[in-house]
Every structure is written in C-alpha cells, then in structure tokens.
C-alpha cells in the first residue's frame, strides 16, 4: 500500500517535471512568434522606445495594411498582395499535380511491378536526398530548352518534378501495406488499372493524400531558392517578395511592416498545420494499424 503510494507520487512528480520541461520548450519556440506579432502591431515610435518583449502601447493595424498593399519590394511599391496571389497560383496546381502523379507512381511501383521497378524506385529515393542547389543548373537548362517563359508555369513544373519523389515515396509506402488480394479481387470483378485506382485505392488513401498535401504545400509555399532562380519581376512568389521588401531600404527600417509581411508570408503554412496537423500525424502512422 505504502509502496504503491510512493510509486504514484514518484510518477506524478516525474510527470510534472516532463510537463514543466515541455512548457518551457513551448515558450522558447513561441517567443519569436510573440515578438513578431507584437512588433507588427506597434508603431515605429513604440518600437524605438519600448523593448523587444513589451506589449504595444497602442494597437495599430497600419503596418499590416502597408505590408499588404503599399510596401516597396524593390522598385515596385504594391505591397505583398500580388505576390501572395502568385504563390497561390503556383502552389495550388503544383501541389495537386504532384500529389496525383505521386499516387499513380506509388500505385504502379507497389501493385503493378515491372522489370526494373525496384531500381526505378531506388533512383527516386536518391532524388529525395538531393539538395535544391544540385538541381538548379540542370533544371535551368531544361527550362531553357523547353522555352517556358511564364514564371508561374516554370515554378509549377519545377516544383512538380522536385516534389514527385517525395509524394511517390509516401504513396508507395502506404500502398505496399494494402493487401495485394484487393487488386486481384478487383481484377476478377472486371476493374481495370484506372477503375481500381479511382474507385478503391484513392478513397482509402485519404490519410496519405493529406500528408502529401501538407508536405507539398509547406515545401512549395516556403521555397525561396527555386523562386529566386526561376521566376522574374512581377511573377515572383511571396518568399522572394518578402526578401526584397526587407532588403529595400528607403530611409528608416520599418520593423513593424517587415514583421507583418513575414507573418503574411507564413500564414498559409501555419493554417495548413493547424487545420491538417492531426491528419498529418494520422497519415504518417497509417498502414501500421490498418485492419
């Protein structure tokens, strides 16, 4: 009795220790966000007089307005809004196409193996280890050969190609856990390659689809390097615009506008995690518990 009592108090203490640690870590990671948020609501005077961690003296949305539609990004002074649109226009097709193609690839690589399909998969795997920098030059040459001029089009193509290996990997790893009897049953029922894919396989892939959507959305939205290299002028994505905005010096450094712009640029990925986070975790562990 006394023994078990001691054990439970010990366990409780240990648990409290863990929670305290987690709380501190959470604070540590949230601190930059706090600084960004408070700074974006401060006026420039407020920033100069107060310290980094203080709350705004008067709450103002001016910096956000400026960041959205009048801040200068280089010679242009139209704010972030058109670049936000650029990023959306590039991200949505790139995410959808790479996810769909990835699931098709995964389907073939797991259920319709062909001679050399394993070697093919290995090659794709190597692709996931290649850093962006390695891809840039050959990619530029290919784009040049294709004669693709439109910035958005170029970026969609680049992101689809670079993302395919990841989406293929996700889907393939899920599909190898799907019993092969399912394909056989469907073949006997008369379902062909695409009918099985669309009517049976895709509907049971929702968790993996979510993982791909989230992964690709964050990868593509947050990408800076491909954006800077393969797009130009008013076709640039928001990450490049943010960089330009922060680096454009017209007199005083407007920290509040910089912060607001940075938050705007990060908002979609934040949202995706908040909305889809639980799917992400569920999708990553799917297959392991499939009955």
């Amino acid at each position: 009795m006394a023994d078990s009592y001691r054990q439970t108090t010990q366990a409780k203490l240990a648990r409290m220790g863990i929670y305290a640690m987690l709380f501190l870590l959470a604070l540590w990671f949230l601190a930059p966000l706090y600084v960004m948020l408070t700074t974006s609501f401060k006026s420039l005077d407020d920033i100069r007089s107060g310290n980094l961690l203080s709350l705004p003296q008067s709450f103002s949305l001016d910096a956000w307005k400026t960041a959205w539609d009048s801040a200068c990004t280089g010679v242009e002074c139209g704010g972030m809004k058109s670049y936000f649109g650029n990023s959306l226009k590039m991200m949505i097709p790139a995410v959808l196409i790479s996810t769909l193609l990835g699931s098709l690839n995964g389907y073939v690589l797991s259920m319709w193996r062909f001679k050399g399909s394993d070697a093919f998969f290995m090659a794709l795997l190597i692709g996931t280890f290649l850093p962006f920098q390695v891809v840039i030059l050959p990619m530029a040459q290919v784009l040049g050969m294709l004669g693709l001029e439109n910035s958005t089009g170029r970026l969609v193509l680049v992101h689809v190609i670079y993302g395919l290996q990841f989406t293929t990997l996700f889907f393939r790893n899920y599909y190898v856990t799907v019993p092969s009897d399912l394909v056989k049953a469907a073949r006997i029922d008369g379902a062909g390659f695409f009918l099985f894919f669309f009517k049976i396989l895709l509907p049971i892939s929702i968790p993996t689809i979510m993982v791909c959507l989230i992964w690709q959305t964050t990868q593509i939205w947050n990408d800076f390097l491909f954006g800077v290299v393969f797009s130009s002028g008013d076709g640039q994505p928001i990450t490049v615009a943010l960089n330009n905005l922060v680096n454009t010096s017209t007199g005083v450094k407007q920290y509040n506008v910089d912060m607001a712009a940075a938050i705007i640029a990060a908002l979609p990925t934040l949202l995706v995690y908040i909305v889809g986070g639980k799917f992400f975790v569920r999708g990553l562990t799917a297959g392991a518990v499939k009955g």
């Binding site: 019993p179 009897d181 399912l182 056989k184 073949r187 006997i188 008369g190 379902a191 049976i200």
Partner: protein, 369 residues
C-alpha cells in the same frame, strides 16, 4: 461436361519451377480440394486458373473453353480470398454490386441479386455496413456473397477459413458444404488443413513441391495412398510407418514386428509388385485405428493378427485413447477403447487388420500394391 480441365500446366519464375506439370480434371458440380504444405504452389495454381498470373506452359479449360488467353473477368469465375479482400471504402451492398456494375447488369437486377444473396447467406442486416464494422466471420460471409452474386461457372476459394477461430471454422465449413449441395456449384478450394480437405472434398489433389502426388476421392486417398507422403499427410493422428523386412511364407507376405520379442505377422497374399521386395527392407504403413485392442477390432477377418506391446504413453481423446507403443524402434500409435488402453509400463494386446496394412518402398516411397 468438364467444368475444369488442367493439362500439363507449368509455372516458372526464371529458374525456379513452382508448378511442374499439373494435370487435373473435374466434372460439373464437383468440389475439388487442393491440399498440401505451405509453399507447394496451391495459390499459384489457383491464380493461374483465375488468370491473375500467366502460365508458362500447358492449357486450362473452364467449361470446355480454353481460357489461357482470357483475362480474369472473362473466365466466368469468382474467387474468395484468405484475406477476404473486401473493398474497405464500400458498404457490403456496394462490395457485392461493384462487379455487377462493371458488367453493366441493370440496376433492378442488381438489387434482386443482392437481396437473393443476402438471404442465402443470412446477412440482410449487414448490407449497409462497411467491412471494418464486421467481424471476421461476417467478412467471410460477405466475401462469399460477392462471389455468389456473379453466379459463375467456377468458384475459387483460397484458404477462406484460415483466418477464423476453430469453432467458427467448423461452422463455416458445414455451411460451405451445404451451400455447395444446395446450389450445385463447381468449386476449387485450397487448404492446407487435411481435415477440411477430407470433410469438404469430393476430389482431392494432394500437392507437394509443385506436383500433384495423388488425385482421387477422399476415401481413395485414405485407404490407398499412392506414396508415403500422401499416407502421412491424410489422416489424424497420422499413419504409423514401421520399418521391417518383407518375408514370404506359402505365397503370403510376412513381417516381423518387435517389441521386446519378435512377433511374426502375416499380411495377406503377396502381389507381383511386392514379390521382388522379399528379403528387402520395406515400410509397413498402418493407421492407428487399424491397430486396436482385440475387443474393439470390428473386422471379422479370419486372419486378424495379434501383437503384444508395452505401453509407453496414453493420450485419452474421450471416445478412444491413443496408446503409444514402440515397435521396431519407432513410436507407433494405436487407437484403443479407453478401458482397454492400459497404463504406461503395462503390456497390452493389439489386433492388427492385415487387409488394411500397406507396404511402401523406402527408396521410391511409392506404395507397393
């Protein structure tokens, strides 16, 4: 009319030969069992019949039609899988309807079929559930329903009961047998359970390492197994194999069995095939139920042989007790009446039915008939 005819079917993956020339033939309405140890090629053969995999050489006819080059959906077959292979995203109703839709069966007819099948298998109340909401036995039922809905010329079952618990397995076994009797369907059924094979099959093909060792009725396999493998595989507890030397006395085959002392046992008229083995080692095959206490021996054969042996262990099963004795240095099991089983260390008398005793060549392992 032949329902299924398999002629010289071979299958190789590169240099590994999985099926080494299979010949099987069954009539309409027959229940064929493919039985054998794991990895012997049962599923492979079933997949070939279904058309899920190409054969390397040979011919397969379903309902007298050469199907070698037909796709699975055109072979007029339905298949029930070990894992059930129900479509997880669809309700039971949609699972059954899927194949019908693809075949463009009119909607009204589909509903009729689904209702009929659901009634046959008593699963009307399950129709709107998803597979995840079903128990193992219910999934099994749905998988069978999906096959029944198509009313094909040939049903293929790949170990459909092996994922069920023991009690349910026996229930479903009976149900499948009833269904077969009622609907008169032709079935090819894969199992590695010899009891399932014996109870269900009208024809059994015992397979090993990609070959059919014996093809016949359950009784043929039981009474006259073609070789040591089949003899040992069919029947539980399995047949005793006692090494001995064949002798001959006045045209009758004799062997000496030893448990402490030599006892001469005469078997019966020696056959022409057996005669060359006189003076050579053979293996005497005798099933436990043909080695029993004299009071339980049903045979009124005048030549009933009596053998004395010391009990090493007894295992009561309820109706009878399995008595293990040592004969010619090997463990030999006799099936005795519980009251005549004796106790370890005691000597008991066992009567051996010479008409049921089999002889095997220890080298070729073939039965010497």
């Amino acid at each position: 009319m032949g329902a299924l005819s398999i002629r010289k079917v071979k299958k190789s993956y590169g240099d590994t030969h999985i099926l080494k020339g299979i010949d099987l033939e069954i009539e309409n309405g027959q229940f064929l069992i493919l039985v054998g140890p794991s990895g012997c090629g049962k599923s492979t053969l079933l997949n070939m019949i279904a058309g899920l995999d190409d054969i390397t050489s040979g011919e397969i006819y379903i309902a007298d039609r050469l199907v070698n080059n037909l796709s699975p959906k055109d072979r007029d077959i339905a298949m029930v899988f070990q894992s059930y292979a129900l479509y997880p995203n669809m309700t039971v109703r949609r699972n059954i309807a899927f194949g019908l839709e693809i075949r463009k069966v009119p909607k009204i007819e589909q509903d009729e079929i689904i209702n009929r099948v659901a009634k046959t298998l008593q699963m009307e109340h399950l129709l709107d559930r998803k597979p995840a909401q079903l128990s193992g036995g219910q999934r099994q039922r749905v998988a069978m329903g999906r096959a029944l809905a198509r009313n094909p010329a040939l049903f293929l079952f790949d170990e459909p009961l092996s994922n069920l618990d023991a009690k349910l397995r026996v229930e479903m076994r009976t149900e499948i047998k009833l269904l077969h009797q009622r609907l008169g369907t032709t079935i090819v059924y894969v199992t590695h359970d010899q009891i399932e094979a014996m109870t269900l099959g009208e024809r059994i093909a015992v397979m090993k390492e990609g070959e059919v060792r014996q093809f016949g009725t359950p009784q043929q396999l039981y009474d006259l197994p073609s070789d040591l493998y089949v003899a040992g595989f069919i029947g539980s507890p399995s047949m005793n194999f006692i090494p001995c030397v064949l002798g001959e006395a006045d045209g009758v085959g004799v062997v000496t069995l030893n448990n402490g002392k030599d006892q001469l046992i005469s078997l019966g008229q020696i056959s022409d095939i057996q005669r060359p083995f006189v003076g050579k080692p053979v293996i005497l095959g005798i099933r436990p139920e043909q080695l029993t206490d004299p009071a339980s021996a049903h045979s009124d054969h005048p030549n009933m042989q009596i053998l004395t042996a010391m009990v090493t262990i007894t295992e009561p099963t309820g109706p009878d007790t399995l008595v293990t004795v040592n004969i010619n240095g090997v463990k030999t099991v006799a099936r005795c009446h519980p009251r005549a089983a004796g106790v370890p260390g005691q000597s008991v008398q066992l009567s051996l039915d010479p008409t049921k005793a089999l002889l095997f060549d220890p080298v070729s392992e073939k039965r010497l008939a």
